[in-house]
């Protein structure tokens, strides 16, 4: 039975224009049960979405359904600007059959459920199968040591030995946050994080150790000793699509990008050795009365298995909900398996929801890019340790400034 909320108009604000068709698809599916419900989808690039949200939420002019990553949502949760989830929604989110603890917590604040987890960004390794075959490699790399061995075997060189196709496109330049994030992903495979939370909820950087050294040394070894990649070489998805690199780590959107731009590219994906960074995104509700009720109904509809499978198949973003049957999609798009079909032991980590996180990443990236360009570091463990200590001290200084530093 359609509840009294049916004769309403609700708006959905999204930070990903490619998701507009998904929300419209969800709205279309609700027509039978809510014939008079009109859903207006307003999707715009993420940075602009965040600006609009900052003004809209504080002035009471925001949409009823708001799509937002947990890291940005926290500031609004702290100020009580999102609605607490109704009992039925909270029970749905807290049910382990629907969401694991990580995603439940990503939609909660102070133990209370506020949002409905929807999709996530997550990384995996992309590799060119033809290049693997030519190099005599039959399996994807399983350990971080393999990554270097494979990169060496996959690098193609000119007569003077200079690399023309990189074995492993590491993130050596570009946007600061991206450089630090990718370094964090690699260091995580060694068991270490850029910042970690203690039991009191405070944070600390503590990576000037064997794991941190292994991560940074791997970059330096590949760039300066083995020369499997250089700072100047083409990098990222475009380089992979143009067959200018054999391996690189990226999110699932690359699969759709390859399908559109390089449909004949011979490639496959695989999970990372230990786990992946994840950027969980949830739907949050603002407003009151019948509109808020309709908004919750919309958020629940978006979480229906059929709609989530449509999302993965048509948009390429990964649903957060557990227990979905991906078999039909994986048959047509096997590259998605590394993102949805991961080992039981696979671990996720996320950027911390703390104010100075962007400053931490930017400053870390500045130190890393300086280190990447210094060949003297490659064979000098003490010098690598000094870089790590200096980076760690700077991060802890930022955390202390914000009163967030753990003992």
């Amino acid at each position: 039975m359609a509840p009294a909320v049916s004769a309403q108009e609700i708006r959905v604000w999204s930070g990903y224009p490619e998701l507009a068709p998904f929300y419209e698809h969800v709205a279309e599916g609700m027509k039978a049960e809510y014939p008079d419900l009109s859903v207006k989808v307003e999707a715009i690039a993420l940075r602009e979405h965040e600006k609009r949200l900052a003004l809209g939420l504080t002035s009471g002019e925001a949409a009823e359904v708001i799509e937002l990553g947990t890291s940005t949502a926290t500031r609004y949760l702290e100020n009580g600007l999102f609605n607490v989830a109704p009992e039925a929604v909270a029970a749905f989110v807290q049910d382990p059959a629907n969401f694991n603890d990580f995603f439940r917590d990503s939609a909660s604040y102070d133990g209370t459920v506020y949002g409905l987890p929807l999709f996530r960004g997550q990384s995996a390794l992309y590799y060119n199968t033809e290049m693997f075959e030519a190099a005599g490699l039959t399996e994807p790399p399983a350990t971080m040591a393999d990554y270097t061995t494979y990169a060496e075997a996959l690098t193609q060189r000119d007569g003077s030995g200079a690399p023309t196709v990189s074995g492993w496109s590491m993130r050596l330049s570009g946007g600061g946050q991206g450089i630090a994030e990718k370094f964090w992903i690699n260091m995580f495979q060694y068991g270490e994080s850029l910042v970690e939370q203690d039991a009191d909820g405070k944070w600390k950087a503590d990576f000037a150790n064997e794991q941190g050294r292994a991560a940074l040394k791997q970059y330096l070894e590949n760039v300066h000793t083995l020369k499997t990649v250089t700072i100047e070489m083409p990098a990222d998805a475009e380089a992979f699509e143009r067959e200018q690199t054999a391996m690189f780590i990226r999110e699932s959107w690359v699969i759709g990008d390859i399908a559109a731009k390089a449909p004949d590219l011979p490639y496959a994906t695989t999970t990372l050795p230990r786990g992946s960074i994840v950027a969980p995104v949830s739907l949050w509700i603002s407003g009151e009365g019948a509109e808020a009720e309709a908004a919750w109904a919309f958020a629940q509809a978006a979480n229906e298995p059929d709609n989530l499978l449509w999302l993965l198949d048509n948009v390429g973003w990964l649903p957060n909900r557990s227990g979905l049957d991906y078999s039909a999609i994986l048959e047509a798009k096997p590259a998605l398996a590394a993102f949805v079909d991961y080992p039981e032991t696979y671990e996720f980590f996320s950027l911390p929801n703390i104010g100075p996180v962007e400053e931490i990443l930017t400053r870390t990236a500045a130190r890393l890019t300086e280190a990447f360009a210094n060949p003297a570091l490659a064979t000098d463990d003490a010098a690598i340790d000094a870089v790590l200590v200096a980076t760690q001290d700077e991060i802890n200084g930022l955390l202390q400034r914000e009163g967030l530093l753990a003992e």
Binding site: R11, W13, G15, Y16, P17, E18, K40, V41, E42, A43, I44, A45, L46, E48, K51, R52, L55, G56, S59, E61, A63, G121, A237, E238, E241, R242, E251, W253, D257, A260, K261, A262, P263, W317
Partner: protein, 288 residues
């Protein structure tokens, strides 16, 4: 003998001058071609398939031209509506700025009250305040007036231009002698008659230049239309173009197609008003 030498020297001077001139022409030609290249690529990319967009080195003339990008842009987005919104916004903003600048500029230039100097200093001072500083209070103002998602909301931040007031004041000082105004007053002309029949016609060039600057200021505005217009139908073209950016990539084919279409009105306006535009740039740079 000496006449012969002098003729030879004159010829060689002319020859050298010709080579220098041709050299300068060549450098300018290469430079202008380089300046035009991004525009050529923009239009060319609009006709490329996603595969060709990835090709390296990039092609200037598409090997397999397609109009899919243009068709998709026109079918999937209300591009014409966004262009209409932008044109309406830019035209109304230009008219408002021309009106406020000409009135204020004339008064500040020709009326002798000491308080006007203070007002002029305040007007100049506002020019150094970035729009972002007062954007948020302005947004709340628009909200309280109930004009979000409307042309009036868009216009709220674009009715007055402090630089425009300055430009007109300087032009009035330099091009309208006090004697002319005094003669009109002696002949019994009222202030409004003087303003409309003497001042405005003499300011035609400056107003044309200011009009072009004001039009392009509104046409290229992004931050304000983006926060004021949350409704897809109310977007301006600059905001609409941002939709071609996805989570991590840019849909370059469709963005190029949309941008190429958007160039049509602005290039047309530039062609029509290019003399005023050049004068406007010269005025901003060369006059005090």
């Amino acid at each position: 003998m000496s006449a012969n030498r002098s003729t030879q020297s004159g010829r060689s001077r002319r020859l050298r001058k010709m080579f220098v001139d041709r050299g300068i022409d060549l450098i300018l030609l290469v430079f202008s071609l380089l300046m035009l290249l991004p525009l050529v690529f923009l239009v060319s990319n609009g006709f490329k398939t996603p595969q060709e967009m990835l090709a390296w080195p990039p092609t200037i003339i598409p090997a397999d031209p397609t109009i899919d990008n243009f068709a998709a842009v026109l079918q999937d987005t209300p591009l014409l509506r966004w262009m209409f919104n932008s044109i309406l916004f830019a035209v109304l903003s230009t008219l408002a700025i021309l009106a406020t600048s000409s009135i204020a500029g004339y008064i500040l230039a020709k009326f002798r009250y000491s308080s006007l100097n203070v007002i002029f200093a305040l007007v100049l001072a506002t020019a150094i305040v970035p729009f972002e500083v007062y954007m948020i209070p302005l947004y709340f103002q628009a909200q309280s007036m109930g004009i979000l998602n409307s042309i009036w909301g868009l216009l709220l931040g674009y009715l007055v231009m402090s630089f425009g007031i300055f430009l007109i004041r300087q032009n009035v000082i330099h091009s309208i002698p006090d004697e002319l105004l005094e003669a009109a007053r002696i002949d019994g002309a009222g202030e409004l008659w003087i303003f409309f029949r003497i001042v405005l016609p003499l300011l035609r060039g400056a107003l044309g230049a200011l009009g072009v600057l004001a039009f392009f200021q509104a046409w290229t505005a992004f931050a304000w239309p983006m926060i004021v217009a949350t409704n897809r139908e109310a977007y301006t073209i600059e905001v609409g173009l941002a939709l071609f950016q996805t989570g991590f990539t840019v849909d370059l084919g469709r963005l190029s197609a949309a941008s190429a279409l958007v160039l049509i009105p602005s290039i047309s306006l530039f062609v029509i008003l290019r003399r005023n535009f050049v004068q406007g740039v010269a005025s901003t740079g060369l006059k005090e």
